[in-house]
């Protein structure tokens, strides 16, 4: 059987802004032709060749008809670039890809919607752009509108829609196109839970009808539910490609196999800096303050230690951690502003070491990831759980209770030992 998608050595090179050869205006181009020394612009993080950056490098894989492939990877791993190349939005720098079918892609919310036009007008317009004839759109129109659940607003200009409504309509149009290959990039980021469930259901239908789906999401639950195969990208390259979805997702969620990375040091593992602070380290620490890089029993408590250089104070600053299990479920969120205002840790400009202890007999047996949490409350993320490069790993193994009966991992998310008494 010939694969429906064949990706062969695809690479994509971007020139970074501020690099000498990327002229923003004709004037820059002309100026650089006249004089050799160009004005230096501030560039951060010097790389091997700071002028160029390979978003994808030598990516190869084949997809057979009817496969639902989840593409996972951290931000900047090249997932979206790959989908853009496969949907012919941008061209690769090297390699070649062959698609044996019509592609329908939903890369971002509101694909080409025009704000002044009504939902109805935009459905027709969007359908045409995506390759449908007028009568074909007409035949599907009611279905599209019904699925989106925005019947009441279909004759309202799109500019009055919420982002969730735009998303619903865009997904609805894309899903009813019936392409042989459906490419979907992180659509579950917007919309309520009901609609997300509906989207997943629709994608499942598409897949069970024998069509091929390429799906990018940070929602690992959705990936595990939907996909029959995982392609894991890291720094633009395929790190893993496997049909054992659960095992691969588990590995992805936990990072490297084998040794546990209990600490994130800015110098070793990458900096996180903003106007407000620079992160020095984020660690899981044992009793003596040493980084925990080995499994601990459930009977031990442990510490979380955040070391920061604060540049600017704000009462809105939140720091903390989020514990995520192997299935991508958040087990707990804990932040510095959890308590009443007077009990918040006092932060100061300069070096701060913030610690908290996670009590014994709380986490169930298993492997966990702990994401660094940093935000300006209600304003935005510096480090968003599930979407951050600052995360460490933790394994709880044994020691859940002293009881002779209950020695292995117990059902349920957490494993507290409550005090049962009889009177």
């Amino acid at each position: 059987m010939t694969p429906i998608i064949s990706v062969n050595g695809i690479g994509k090179k971007y020139r970074l802004n501020g690099a000498g050869s990327a002229h923003d205006t004709l004037r820059d181009l002309l100026a650089s032709m006249i004089s050799r020394n160009r004005p230096e612009r501030a560039t951060e993080a010097p790389q091997a060749n700071p002028r160029e950056f390979w978003a994808l490098k030598d990516v190869c894989f084949d997809v057979n008809e009817g496969e639902v492939v989840g593409i996972v990877g951290r931000n900047g791993a090249g997932k979206s670039t790959l989908l853009k190349i496969l949907s012919r939005i941008t061209t690769p720098t090297t390699g070649e890809a062959i698609l044996n079918g019509r592609v329908g892609s939903l890369l971002e919310v509101g694909t080409g919607f025009h704000p002044e036009l009504t939902g109805r007008e935009n459905v027709y317009f969007n359908g045409t752009i995506l390759g449908l004839r007028k009568h074909e759109i007409k035949a599907r129109f009611d279905e599209i509108v019904a699925f989106s659940g925005i019947e009441a607003f279909i004759d309202t200009p799109i500019k009055r829609y919420s982002s969730g409504m735009k998303m619903r309509l865009a997904f609805s149009v894309a899903a009813h196109l019936e392409p042989e290959i459906m490419i979907i990039d992180e659509v579950l980021a917007v919309g309520d839970v009901d609609f997300q469930t509906k989207c997943l259901g629709k994608m499942r239908d598409v897949a069970s009808a024998g069509r091929t789906v390429l799906f990018v999401s940070h929602n690992m639950n959705a990936v595990m539910q939907l996909c029959s195969r995982i392609v894991w990208l890291e720094r633009g390259q395929v790190k893993a490609d496997s049909k054992d979805v659960h095992q691969t997702c588990g590995r992805y969620l936990l990072g490297e196999e084998g040794k546990l990375q209990g600490g994130h040091e800015a110098e070793l593992h990458g900096a996180l800096e903003c106007d407000f602070f620079s992160l020095r380290s984020f660690r899981i620490v044992g009793p003596e303050g040493v980084t925990l890089d080995h499994p601990i029993p459930g009977s031990c408590d442990f510490g979380v230690e955040i070391t920061l250089d604060i540049h600017r104070l704000s009462p809105l600053l939140n720091f903390g951690c989020v514990v995520v299990d192997e299935n991508g479920q958040h087990v707990l969120w804990s932040v510095t502003t959890d308590k009443a205002v007077e009990d918040w840790p006092e932060l100061k400009v300069g070096r701060n070491v913030i610690t908290a202890r996670v009590p014994a007999h709380l986490l169930n047996e298993g492997r966990y990831r702990m994401d660094f949490f940093a935000s300006l409350h209600g304003q935005g993320w510096f480090s968003e759980p599930g979407n951050t490069s600052v995360s460490v790993h933790l394994q709880v193994s044994g020691g859940l209770s002293e009881s002779p009966y209950w020695r292995s991992r117990r059902p349920g998310f957490i494993a507290p030992v409550l005090n049962w008494v009889a009177n």
Partner: protein, 282 residues
Amino acid sequence: MSDTLTGHGATRVVIRPRADHTLADCIRDVYSNRHIAWTLALREIQIRYKQSVVGVAWAVLQPLVTTVVFTLLFGLLAKIPTDGVPYPVFVLSGLLFWQYFSKVVSEASGSLVKNEGIITKVFFPRLILPLVPALSAAVELGISLVILFVLMLIYGVTPTPYVLLLPVLLLFAGLLGYGIGLMLSPINAIYRDVSIALPFFVQIGMYLTPVIYPVSFVPERYQWVFLFNPVAALLDTARAALLGSPFPSLAAYGVLLLWTAFIFTLGFRTFRKLEPAIVDRI
């Protein structure tokens, strides 16, 4: 699988670093996606008048007011001779034609930037985009032609049978504008300077083209200059067909054909060469 669905092109797609399209492929791409061009053009017109109170009347009002101003300035004050044609009719016919061409050029050149939201999210042959203004401006021209005919009626100017040539002339003007748009739109997507400089050149272009004066107004020994202006040939032919003024020489048509072929080929080549960079650098 629904077999009623029609996609863009063949079901087998090969994605390679460089688009290995030939000129023929490009033209086929444009032709097979002409319904997208129409949809985009209709959307353009819909949007333009959606939130305006006077609506489509703007398409009539604009040239009408310009005609009044030009008639006062050049017809009554400067007294430009127009080969016996009443000045308002003379200038409006020129203006409408020139405005069509200049609109196509400037809107086509800005088409990629304007549709950034679409081209960075959906695939379709981007060659279509600079073509859209040629269609939408034609619809507007159609509306404003009504006042030209009314004006001709008032001044008692009867069109010659050659008036039937008008669509052909428009087609040529549209193709010329499209060709220039093909050349400038990708450059504008990368360097925004084009959209800044273009209105200036369009303005100059109007004075270099016999819009407000007839070719006969220029001393005979300089009239050969218009030979190199393809729009002048088109415009003069349109006037000849409408108002019965003299047709340009055969040489002018030869030059026009050469120009069109040259601009078109150059446009396609530029577009094809720059296309891979557009999305990454827009």
